[in-house]
């Protein structure tokens, strides 16, 4: 009896609470660990800043898990208001006509001032449609950076290489000093996608896939194959460490000082500062001098926030309100400082400069500088379907190039054939 009364009281309390409480909006994201803590802080700050809406942020695992959870929820008509989708999944959600509301439309419909030029050049169009309308709100934007062990470089008497030519000159000296010169953590992202952007090479037909789902990858080109031939030669000479496809295994080799330089994400900065027991610096992604018209800016990596369709106008207004809060310079600066992801608006970048953050830690500025470098025709991004599987194909073929099971030419022929097969499937699925 007592229990029943208690439950009734609880129910009444809960009901009463929602009746006067704010409109609830939900956000599914892929930020766990320390990043998740920062997301929770931003959520709490947003909820404290106003009382009309109550935002609930839920971590759904990694990027792929979050996308899968979102897909399942959407099909069950139970989707959250906001979902975080990563770069490789962008085509899947954007091409599913009617699944999301373009963020630009959503903001304008709710009288939030929107000007795409407020965003830093590198992030403006990655999640936009071919007319330049922003579909997803860039959230955690990162870029590949070179991290170097200062002691190791000093011991070998070499400077940080800006180009791969300089790297080739420095690598033997690092080997002599007892280090493997280089490792990197994400072959498809760093040594395929951003290789193309850095050298301003076209990555796929149909305007890198933005104009149509009827696209083909252009990876099977001499510049990229030549690069991988070099990587293979470096590996055989002991200048390049290949610790498999796992991000962490390659990063660990750097943290444990087996490898003198490591290419990871600008978002790795915060974590490295905690784990590395030595003095390290950051530098821009090296390029081949004389190839394409390098150096050009890199693509943004990371993910964007999408507003799912099928919610009430009231909830959508809450989403717009949250996006407004999220893009405020103060919020962006906090996010940038805590995580190492770049600030996505010019105003936030200015605020960080004015606050003296970069005089205090100059390495934190390298990522945004690289994204603000001069852009070219092929640096704004790509939009390719089934790109998650295409990355799997690349991972697989990189394994085979590295263990000598396949020649560079054969591996690239396979990548081209399988990637284009997947793109054709995607086109057949989404273009009707």
């Amino acid at each position: 009896m007592f229990r029943k009364t208690l439950m009734a009281a609880a129910a009444v309390f809960a009901l009463g609470n929602t009746a006067q409480a704010a409109t609830e909006i939900t956000w599914w994201h892929a930020m766990d660990g320390a990043l998740g803590g920062v997301v929770d802080q931003i959520t709490a700050d947003f909820n404290a800043s106003q009382d009309e809406y109550h935002l609930v942020a839920v971590n759904k695992g990694g990027y792929e898990d979050t996308m899968t959870a979102g897909i399942a929820a959407f099909r069950a008509k139970n989707q959250p208001n906001i979902i975080q989708i990563f770069d490789a999944g962008a085509a899947t959600i954007i091409n599913a006509k009617g699944a999301v509301k373009p963020v630009q439309d959503l903001l304008e419909a709710n009288n939030v001032k929107f000007d795409i030029n407020d965003y830093i050049p590198g992030v403006r169009y990655f999640f936009a449609d071919s007319d330049g309308k922003m579909i997803g709100m860039p959230f955690n934007s990162s870029t590949p950076l070179l991290y170097y062990n200062k002691d190791a470089l000093a011991k070998a008497g070499v400077d940080v290489p800006k180009t791969w030519q300089e790297f080739e000159a420095a690598a033997p000296k690092l080997k002599e000093a007892g280090y493997t010169a280089l490792a990197q953590s994400h072959s498809p992202w760093i040594f395929f996608e951003n290789f193309m952007s850095r050298h301003n090479l076209q990555m796929a037909t149909a305007n890198n896939g933005y104009d149509s789902t009827d696209a083909k990858v252009l990876y099977n080109n001499d510049a990229l194959k030549d690069h991988w031939q070099h990587v293979k030669d470096w590996k055989d000479a002991g200048y390049y460490g290949y610790y498999g496809r796992a991000w962490g295994a390659n990063q660990d080799a750097f943290v444990q000082q087996q490898v003198a330089m490591w290419i990871g994400s600008s978002g790795s900065f915060g974590g490295l500062r905690k784990s590395a027991q030595f003095d390290f610096g950051t530098s821009t992604l090296p390029y081949w001098k004389g190839v394409g018209d390098a150096p050009k800016s890199t693509f943004i990596g990371g993910a964007a926030l999408f507003a799912f369709a099928g919610h009430s106008a009231e909830q959508d207004a809450g989403v717009a309100e949250f996006f407004k809060f999220l893009t405020k310079p103060e919020t962006q600066y906090y996010w940038h400082k805590e995580t190492g992801y770049v600030p996505i608006t010019n105003a936030a970048y200015e605020l960080a400069k004015k606050d003296g953050y970069y005089t205090e830690s100059p390495d934190a500025e390298v990522g945004i500088q690289q994204l603000s470098e001069e852009g070219g025709d092929w640096t704004k991004g790509y939009r390719l379907g089934f790109y998650v599987q295409i990355r799997e194909v690349i991972y697989r073929e990189v394994d085979k190039m590295m263990n000598g099971e396949e020649t560079i030419d054969a591996a690239f022929a396979t990548i081209e054939e399988e990637a284009n097969g997947l793109l054709k499937r995607f086109n057949d699925t989404y273009s009707n």
Binding site: I71, I93, A96, K97, Y243, G244, R396, E405, G421, R425
Partner: protein, 292 residues
Amino acid sequence: MKRVQFEHSAVPYLFVAPQILIISIFFLWPAAQAVYQSFLLEDAFGMSSQFVWFRNFEDVLSSSSWTRSAIFTVVFSVLVSVLSIAISLFLAVRADEVVRGAKSYKTLLMWGYAIAPPVAGLLGNMLFNPLMGDLYMAFNSFGFEFNHIENANDAAFVVILIAVWKQVSVNFIFFLSGLQGIPKSVQEAATLDCKSPERRFWTITFPLLAPTTFFLLVINLTYAFFETFGIIDVSTKGSPGGSTATLVYKVYVDGFLGADLGGSSAQSVLLMIMVSVLTVFQFRFIERKVHY
């Protein structure tokens, strides 16, 4: 007309109803859904779809990575089942003979049972970490050029080792109880007739364990086909070069990570057919040799 001999009553149906309901909801319905989906090209969010007959099956069967994965799955499953059955049988026979400290031995051999496959995969991952893994270091210091990051056979060795280790304790429990179920009188009679313990094992004990062995063969193959997913996902992720990706792992990568519903449904239908054929084969041909 003669009347039917037995009275039909609704009661037995009532008793099997919950089980039928569970099978329908958790197996028949999703399986039918998968078959239906395998004939469609549909975008992930379900906004549009078209019926394409066997296009998905053609795409799957013509891909070299699927063929490679299918071959690996068969080799992997046979090796994992045979090895884990053989090792656990050996351990069970030995543990059954132990007199002093029998309980401790048995407990130690059994408690691996409590470990979930992903955790086993994680342990394997640490043991074979190229920077600090004990087994990785040990193998290399013995002069093997062991490198599971690059060498497909070494990687297969790693996943098989983890999968077998995880399964041995399960099989051990069944074999041990099987051994304890053999009547003492039979064993004593055998001892009088035959001095060689090895011959006694093969002529008396093993045939009496045949029902257990057959049962374990069936569940071990199912284990190797499906449950090792967790081990592969946390250890090799199918690398190097897709050489350690089992069919289930591929279904997961294409369907759950890649959002290709039609393609991964076609793969799971093919897998379902393979496993059904295998099960029928086991019951028709191997079970005949088993005496209960």
